[in-house]
Symmetry: C2
Subunit: 767 residues, 2 copies
């Protein structure tokens, strides 16, 4: 142990990013590169009768046009729902669905040519709400549409929840609407493709999942996988919005093949909104029952999920909408019935806190009502129902470490909850909420027995250490995490480490940056690989020093004798001794192997994770009753991330999560009109909080020790988002006594609720 883990370190990519030196995908321009633009459907649902590209192709500077028939094979992120075509061939299913792509010498010409591609459409009925889609099963939105355009239904019951709710002392019922929101990463999607002279394809892409993209490219382009290389340059934000293949990646590959030149597509901001794959809108009917002393007896939900036009990760979303609710509280019975429905809109997919942010909002609001009904402190209610460590949830998930009670303590103390809650005067209030999240899923997206994460560590005689890993640095800090692990285990200087990630040729496979899996899985793989290399160094040094390898230590670039620290040598010399002893260069591998954790519960594997994080928020709000504006003044975020490998990065994730949750609570809505036309696909109309709108956020790291985690670590990237929204909702109730159940909490809705409140109170007074 070299004392690196848990210390305060600069991110390995930090200076490059803040100085502008980092080269993102759009910063790359292979020589002779063409620019391409995708022609998109103006209709939410329409049959493609014909496409006439002759006028576009006649323009000077236009090099090639492709359409759906050039790439007929369907793909999809999940092997069970391969329902997308790189360019729609028969039917466009949402406004923005791609139908053709044109490559030209420059971006402007490509855009002008795209406008000259004439598509003859036969307009079909556009069904833009799940209710309408269910009501008109004769209109088949998606090739996989089942009756009533259902994509997936999961109806699972754990114990006799109806009986439990019927026998509850208090039963809270409510209907909640979560608006769709999108990731709004600052970097638009961008991809470049180039074929080498031997017919091998390289695709650079702002993706979170190089390995899955690798597989999808092979499928769609009908190439052996060994002919393809995917490189992920630094990514300017993902949040789940770049975690599956997108049309541009196939289009640049095909156009580069057709033209023999490198081809780039950079989405316009408008296209980013069409690509979407953001948070699913959900209509959620929740029932929560408790005994009169506040013990939960049952929870039941019925959830209608607006899927958009394609499946995306929808199977997972549907499971997650129910399966991830069963902690941090114990309840003996549980049921959920979730249905994802196709609609003629951009497909919804995974956004930070995939599938579970929406029901968490509903449920934590319900808990606040239970507390209100029982006149209990909402924090006390949560404490009383906490699952604790080494527990099994009602749906069979195995909880290891659990710092939820410490999280509650931390936000209670920091916010002055006991002294301040309910005592801030009308218009100002505090609210609390809790949550849990996974640290990756137990199984890979496609079934296989290989490690889910692989890391190679190479030693050089210069003392340089190279870490190769297929993980994706999407801003979350995985490159730093890998460097910290290597420095910890090897005892080299942090600056001696070079991290190569996100390149399917150079690095072993890691499944990608999603489901908060990376620190846990790649971290364990990195420890294994680094320890194997460290062992070779220590054995070689021990031979020279005529001691045992256990007596050899190393830290910060120096190798020393543990009992006689005057005996020392530079780290590089240790590498040289090891290479001499090995007689060959040293590269050691480590892997994260799937553990069959909780894999036996109903509903299959989806939802099971090797470790669970816990969070509690207290939010403080101010409500302007004249304008209906809600001002979030402060959020206290306590998060149990297991061991914090890099506290600065953990705090950053907590702050970013709380910010993003607050944005969804107050500002964001990814909405279309009745014709399926987006209400404003740009960053002026789609409201995001600026720095001036952003509350003070206090990150309170709660460390626990997860037995199977890397140095005891769990996740920190998604969990801390969940309680933001219900904590704000509950704070609004504390401030002005209204219960908002529809997102976002926009001024008209706040004003309407206040009006309703006044009417109710007036009636009460009259009565």
């Amino acid at each position: 142990m070299a004392g690196v883990i848990g210390g305060k370190h600069r991110r390995v990519d930090g200076i490059a990013k803040v100085t502008g030196a980092a080269q993102y995908t759009d910063d790359l321009a292979p020589s002779r590169m063409l620019h391409a633009r995708i022609v998109r459907s103006p209709h939410a649902h329409a049959r493609i009768v014909s496409i006439d590209a002759s006028e576009a192709l006649a323009m000077p500077g236009v090099v090639a046009v492709i359409t759906g028939s050039d790439m007929p094979i369907r793909y999809g992120i999940l092997p069970w729902t391969q329902d997308e075509q790189a360019l729609a061939e028969d039917v466009a299913r949402y406004v923005g669905d791609g139908v053709a792509a044109v490559a030209a010498l420059d971006e402007r010409t490509a855009a002008q040519a795209a406008a000259k591609i004439r598509v003859t459409w036969e307009v079909l009925p556009a069904l833009v709400t799940p209710e309408d889609a269910l009501a008109r099963p004769e209109v088949k939105i998606n090739p996989l549409s089942k009756d009533g355009n259902v994509c997936k239904r999961v109806d699972l019951r754990f114990g006799d929840v109806d009986a439990a709710l019927a026998g509850a002392d208090v039963l809270v019922e409510g209907e909640y609407d979560f608006a769709s929101t999108t990731h709004a990463a600052i970097e638009p999607h961008c991809a470049i493709a180039e074929w080498d002279p031997r017919g091998r394809l390289t695709v650079w892409s702002a993706t979170q999942v190089p390995h899955y993209l690798h597989r999808a490219l092979a499928r769609v382009l009908e190439l052996p996988e060994d002919r393809i290389r995917v490189i992920q340059p630094p990514v300017g934000g993902g949040f789940g919005g770049k975690s599956e293949p997108f049309d541009l990646e196939f289009c640049v590959a095909k156009l580069a093949q057709t033209t023999g030149r490198p081809v780039k597509i950079l989405y316009t901001r408008e296209e980013v909104f069409y690509a979407h794959r953001g948070r699913h809108a959900m209509n959620m009917k929740f029932r929560t029952g408790a005994t009169k002393d506040g013990k939960l007896v049952g929870v039941a939900s019925k959830i209608l999920i607006d899927g958009g036009a394609y499946s995306s990760f929808g199977l997972v979303t549907t499971y997650y909408s129910g399966q991830l609710l069963t902690a941090p509280y114990r309840f003996p019975t549980y049921a959920f019935d979730s249905t994802r429905v196709f609609t003629n809109k951009p497909a919804n997919g995974p956004k930070r806190g995939h599938g579970s942010v929406q029901p968490r909002f509903a449920f934590e609001c319900q808990l606040d009502e239970v507390a209100e009904r029982l006149a209990l402190d909402p924090i006390e209610l949560r404490r009383a129902n906490a699952l604790g460590e080494d527990a099994t949830t009602v749906n069979g998930q195995k909880i290891g470490s659990n710092g939820f009670l410490e999280c509650l303590d931390a936000v209670e103390r920091a916010s002055g909850w006991k002294e301040r809650r309910g005592k801030l005067g009308r218009g100002r209030g505090l609210g609390v909420a809790g949550s849990t999240y996974i640290s990756g899923t137990a199984y890979p997206i496609y079934p296989n027995e290989m490690p889910q994460s692989g890391v190679l560590v190479k030693l050089d005689r210069s003392g340089q250490v190279v870490v190769f890993s297929g993980v994706s640095e999407i801003g979350q800090g995985v490159n730093t995490m890998l460097a910290l692990v290597a420095a910890e285990e090897l005892g080299c200087a942090l600056d001696a480490i070079r991290v190569h990630t996100g390149d399917t040729e150079l690095s072993p496979v890691d499944l990608g940056a999603y489901s908060s899996r990376v620190t846990f899985m790649a971290g364990l793989a990195a420890i294994e690989a680094s320890r194997a290399a460290a062992k070779l160094i220590r054995e070689a040094v021990a031979k020279k020093w005529e001691c045992t390898a256990r007596e050899v230590g190393a830290a910060h670039g120096t190798i020393f004798h543990l009992d006689d620290t005057a005996r020392r040598m530079p780290f590089a010399e240790g590498c040289q001794l090891a290479e001499s002893a090995n007689g060959a260069p040293i590269a050691t591998g480590g892997g994260y192997r799937t553990r069959k954790v909780g894999g036996d519960y109903r509903g299959g594997s989806i939802g099971a994770s090797p470790a669970y994080s816990f969070t509690a928020h207290v939010a403080e709000v101010e409500v302007d009753e004249e304008t209906g504006q809600v001002f979030v003044k402060k959020i206290w975020v306590a998060h149990d991330c297991g061991r914090a490998l890099s506290p600065v990065d953990v705090a950053g994730q907590m702050e970013g999560s709380a910010y993003m949750g607050m944005a969804e609570a107050i500002f964001e809505e990814h909405a279309v009109d009745a014709h399926g036309i987006h209400r404003g696909p740009n960053l002026l109309d789609y409201k995001l909080p600026t720095t001036l709108d952003t509350p003070d956020i206090e990150a309170l790291i709660v460390e626990s020790n997860e037995p199977g985690g890397p140095y005891g670590a769990k996740e920190a990237g998604e969990g801390p988002l969940h309680p933001s929204i219900p904590a704000i909702a509950n704070a609004i109730f504390d401030a002005v006594g209204i219960r908002l159940r529809r997102l976002p909490f926009s001024p008209p809705r706040v004003l309407a609720a206040l009006r309703e409140q006044r009417t109710r109170e007036a009636k009460k007074e009259q009565a």
Copy 2:
């Protein structure tokens, strides 16, 4: 054994190179890159009194100027002769010695600014011949000049050669002059440097020795080695001319550090001539004695070597000038006394056939004279003295395989020697010569116990195989060799292999492309690494098939059961099984470990090699007695390369070598005038054969099986050059009866020799 080795394959980099897709160093342009130019001395020897860069720095677009004092630390390719400074600080030692460098926004401005840097010189005596340098020891040319400006003297005797020569039946004595020649690679030297935001340096350079450059950059820039990365893009020809650090590599690094921007220097063609490090001019006095039946009894030489201003590889050159002559013929006594002298000229260094091409010329001409004197067929004389297999030379070199007699047979047969030699009429003739060369040296340039070559093989579940090696692809085909070895051992498709070489960060160390070491050493390392990976695949497949690993075969992308070839699977599936079984990504290492071969002979290790190649040439020439022009019509080249791993590449090396030797025989001379000014530093004045001047060359591959070599292979890149020059000289004698002992065989020299011949014959008639 997958049947790949020895087959006819396309080079892995072939299409990229012929289509222009390959990106050489000068094709790269990191954003914000500056261009720099080096200010060079117009004097062959002068003290730098002062440098005034104010006018240059005042020019718009000029960013920085550096001079010698910015990089005070001396370097040199050999640890014992660190006599160069990146920019000369006190004294310039040849016309072209760099003294300052200027970086500007573009190349033209850099060149204009360089012309405005005012250097005040104190001109010193310029000594441009070894004779003058020896005669004026008071003028110290180089910091390491010993008495009379001697750089190195090696005087070694093996047996009593004087007694043997005194007792010889026939004694041939002669003085030979080998002109300096240069490599004239089509790609000029080019280097780019960039510092990353964390203070780490990357240098891209057209170098043959990334590892040595890595070390030299650390030394001169006073950086830890772990902060430096050297990348070698495809190289447009090296031939030894890029096998040590050059001023431009340090200058771009320093200027990039100073300016905070990437900096490129591309040598002008004139600068390439100044950089030089080409073939040393040698004055060689040879004595060769034989018995009357043609058995050699002794060989003695005294060699004066023109070193130029710096040491370069001079220590090695001096040893090689004597040590590498002792095969393919047996002689019981031998002595050489070689002295390398500093002169005020661009430093000479290693050129294809380093150090041994010059004495080989002299000695093979002497053998022709011995045959003439004894009226023996020159081929018969060579046969009679052949060493044979498993022999030890007079200076202790251990010969393993030896196909020299087969080489002689092959050229004798192919050329119609017996029927045609001496019978083609005056003006046309045939000549023969033989030679040997090393397959790398037993020891690295800097003493260490680590493997001289390291290879890593990484398997991917896609079936992709990545070979990482620090070797340098300089056109000789090493990337293809590595791919062939991996395909042979793993049984994957050749196109499934990606080779990453010439990058000190990605790849394990290999010492570089020099001394014909690569196929032998990196080949063995690649076999070792590939076999280890193949073993893991076969064991995993065997487990599935419930058989033994020995029963599992693989070839061309398919894995099969050796006894039941219907049982088969794609190679990728084998990789997947292996990765599953391993539980971690698979990367295996292989190394070439120094073997203590012939390390006990006098003179130390230099010259000892693990394996020796053999060559014989027959050249056919036509001499125009009116103009003095020699036309080389055809060269038959037979070369014992051990096992030919890729016969097409071996033949290419043989043809290129014979071409280059022929060019030196007839055309080339890298010469300066009495003031040290180059006689024409451009490719118009420096004559190279065009395609029209190039003879028909017939490559006759002679395979032997070198016991310690990779599949029995030895070298092919340098050996086949050696006999070209003496075979042409001997053919000229056969054609017109003159013995040319001074290179090149230019028309004036031919005409002078013919005049002398006529005078001699006239005298004979008069007598």
